[in-house]
Subunit: 344 residues, 4 copies
């Protein structure tokens, strides 16, 4: 099948292109960029010399509708909301990596500071948290791919939230990410001389993944769940860890919670649960679609600590988008994604 | 006055030597190392060529007693507990940077896995959290210098704990430190090819600064306080941030808590409170003795978030030890420590 | 076909395992380690959980002879020289990533400080510089895989050396490598707190790749060529750049030398020549088997500057070893190696 | 004495401010910025909170002439050339950290691509290579401070060039610098996600320090000297190493050249010669004004290799500017600069 990628010059798009190169079932045939159409992607990104030689084209739905079967949007916030509604009137499968369709209208407007799509549009989108919503995704033609922090947080919290063991209030998500999550755009915060060797808390209380996380936790818990999300930039390129603290409503042990997670994810090939006493490190997942999880119950303070580690550009973006494409087309969820992490 | 440093080859000792070089009131005249005596420090550390030319000597209290006025111990855990008791019988002022005298006997044995000093020995030690225990330190002849995570955590939590606003349970300390906190000893975890570009949670539930933090928070609150401390290694050399979450017992605002901290630290020259909406970054304190604090009340979830940032080798070790020396000798607390952070 | 890897716990071996996982023609079925036999590779390297589950076995040639078709040695210096002679008596194809068979006996003893193999043994080895010695490699059953610096240097220098344009004396190779080239072994030089943010010249005049480079340059030039190789460690994990300076014997232009390299490598899919005015950066080749080359003639000083960039673990080790395996078996030289660089 | 700094918002200016804070003879009383006048420096640079509280002022020579005694220009290229001529008509001492007055008119125009000052203006400037031109600097009222690469290269090459031992042609300077040398300005090259973990050759054949280096080498040799300068960005913030290759005209030994350098710099407190067999690492000079030098004669290829390491912002800019100020005022050359390197 043929794939097109809109917004082909961002880091998420680069990963889609790189990962799909080895996918046995699809071929990326169209790469679309409004700001760079006519240029070759390898001119912008010399590392792609001999890898991708085709030119970037302008967005033209009537052409894409005939040229490809699957269309990925890897555009910045605010773009796909204008373009996707028309795409949904075609027979194209559509996967959107931006946040434009993840939230209810009022939340989007509050957190993104932009006007949102009409509510009914948003309701067409299936939230692409692959391991959790496999069945819905299989039926879908339009996926809203989760944010990177959301993926790590939800996969770490949903199992315990669903049991009722975890309190609905007081959940802390202390998130740490490499700089690629901030994207291509130049900024003082990501200027090498100022980011190197520094740990930088940012967007406290304002990160737009907060409503996304709460919405789906609340759905899974069938109760309203509130979280505190604090994000930090780490002087590394890739990798994302969420260290999450869940107050428990009754005493439990590391062994019991560990078993809960083992059972919950027993059929999910990309989820790896660390042995008790061991915690994930981001380097162990880089370049792969794995989600590594570590569990520790702090019996002294009645907190369950869950740590999830992902590659923010892969499981946090492009890899999960490909899992969703696989599910939508009834292929194995792992198709084209069976990469070993790259180490050291 | 003359200063001697025992255990002169560790990173904490290097910082003491470097900082004291410019202290107008003292001179480092003796540097002691059991494992490297006879060698020159600049042979181990070529960066000290022309800076320090004297040789390392063997530990000999009868000599040191006459040669210096102030003795710092920058030795690994387990050493000062054997040596300090005799030092206390002399007229030397003594400042211990290790953890050997910070805890009650039973806690030390539980958390450090070594036999502790006799309880009465530990009671002689004054805990050297400079801004908080100024008065006691002024009267002391023997200081137990706090651990790096403890300093950052306690300075961030004590103000709110003392008000009663903060809950005594459910306090989370998510700590992130550069690798110099792990010291000189080679280990797989700090092997460059494996630490670079990786975020590494470690010692979850086991970090020996936990009882230290709880003991002093409980003292300040006049109630038992429990914390959850989770530590992470960050791919940077220096810098330490604690992002701390305190559930509040009654609603409050960022403005109110900010004012509380402003008033609490109003006379402390090394404490810098970030404006509301801004958070500390480790790079902004590196090379200085500053403690930067940021406050954010997450009204959605009734959590106060306090972020403290320090240079783990300075305010987290050597700089605070020098503050304590200044207090013990009735000098200005800032004497010899008025360094600008080094930036970029 | 079945592949066995001896010395499966080093970084070069990890890369062989990772890259061969996706090779359509082979399967890694035996992983051998003397020091860790009986353990699972994923216990040593948690990133391999679910990727490689088999245990490490002890070296046993009579077993391996029947179990696999191709045997890679990724052992430290001094091991394969004892083991390979017997392997050559079997029908196994053998590729050695160490330096044990790269040099003449006297050079090995001088530069490696160990006793070398008998000369006739070394003469059996074909030097596995894939693009240059394709024909010999196709006929070989035993390959000595080049060192990482040697690969980068030889691929950058051989084209100009063969023309006679380049002087035989005065060739400078200023090499910069990430730390993974130094391997797994802990050392002060690669202790994170001391390597981070530092540029470290090392082994000046003593690097054992020097005789390797000179031997093959001299062969290609049919004259004795001497080089000066200076190596530096860079605070990054992967990547290797050689900036090479060749005094020219007659005036020339960047355009002419560029064309020379374009023609020389015109049929080599892994060689990418940068446009005039542009130079390679290591990040553009990481994770791939590409060799990026940049050319600049400094007419002011009659020097040709050639810059080559590779991933030291891939084109500098495992990737080239796989190219050689492909050639030995008459497969396409690119088989199983068509990876895009991983970016950012 | 009172000091003013023009262009107070760049990294070089930050270092001047930080270093002069501890200078016993001067006080920085005016900080000037055209683009940020009216703002406080600590608003742009929060690390300066409590360190520098004064506001940035607009450039006004009639005011500065009365307010300060010494004026530093830390402005980008092209600014001081317009402003300095008028300054020279006052009694102010003037030290310019930019390149505007370092070169002959024709060289400046060729290499900087801007119009240069009138030749007679340039001739008023004394080149501030402190150890080499001490005597001229003592007599001067206007110093043109050398570029960072130039300082490292000239201090490493002048001793051997003056002997006649070194060839006048074929000198290679392979330079590696941390990113702070590229300054505050945002660029793709210094965007963290793209600079991290990458070695980046840049400006080959075009770096504007080339004519500066050649001009002074030729002066010292009393013959025309040509060099090849190749510059590389390293993923670190500070530090600069030049690995330099000088073909020798007659055989010599490491011991002899080492002695030559020892004698040449015997009275220079900031120059540290590494023992034979040891090479400088940038981390050993960071935060200090030291110039570390290593010598190795490669007898196999008749090349003398000289390695110099400096902190590019200190000895490569601000520190050397302060040495020059000390000389101009007959103070000890080390006044206010006796900092230990900061390690680790």
């Amino acid at each position: 099948m043929k794939v097109g990628i809109v917004g082909a010059t961002g880091y998420g798009a680069l990963e889609l292109i790189r990962l799909l190169k080895n996918h046995p079932r699809v071929e990326v045939t169209e790469i679309v960029s409004h700001s760079h159409h006519g240029e070759r992607l390898s001119d912008l990104y010399p590392h792609l010399t001999k890898v991708i030689e085709r030119p970037l084209i302008e967005y033209d739905l009537s052409y894409l509708e005939k040229a490809v079967d699957i269309l990925f949007f890897a555009t910045p916030a605010g773009i796909s909301k204008s373009l996707v509604p028309e795409v949904l009137e075609t027979s194209l499968q559509c996967i959107d990596l931006s946040g434009d369709f993840r939230l209810l209208k009022k939340d989007y407007e509050e957190w993104y500071g932009k006007e949102a799509v009409a509510s009914d549009m948003q309701e067409n989108a299936v939230f692409g948290l692959a391991e959790i919503y496999k069945d819905k995704i299989r039926q879908a033609t339009f996926i809203s791919n989760p944010g990177c922090y959301s993926t790590a947080a939800l996969m770490g919290l949903i199992p315990i939230i669903k049991t009722g063991l975890g309190s609905k209030k007081g959940i802390i998500i202390d998130a740490k990410s490499g700089t690629s999550g901030a994207g291509r755009t130049l900024s003082r915060m990501t200027h090498f001389s100022e980011m190197n060797d520094s740990l930088v808390p940012y967007k406290f209380g304002k990160h737009q993944h907060t409503p996304e996380i709460e919405y789906y936790l609340s759905k899974e818990a069938s109760k309203e769940v509130t979280v505190t999300l604090a994000t930090h930039l780490v002087p590394m390129t890739r990798g994302l860890i969420c260290t999450m603290y869940v107050p428990i409503t009754q005493p439990t042990t590391t062994k019991d919670i560990w078993q809960l997670y083992k059972d919950f994810y027993t059929n999910d090939p990309f989820v790896r649960l660390h042995p008790i006493g061991s915690m994930p490190q981001t380097k162990q997942v880089i370049g792969s679609n794995y989600v590594d999880i570590g569990i520790h119950v702090d019996e002294r303070s009645d907190q369950v600590i869950i740590v999830t580690a992902i590659d923010n550009l892969i499981k946090g973006a492009a890899g999960q988008a490909i899992q969703n494409m696989n599910l939508m087309n009834d292929w194995s969820i792992q198709e084209g994604l069976e990469f070993s992490p790259i180490y050291p």
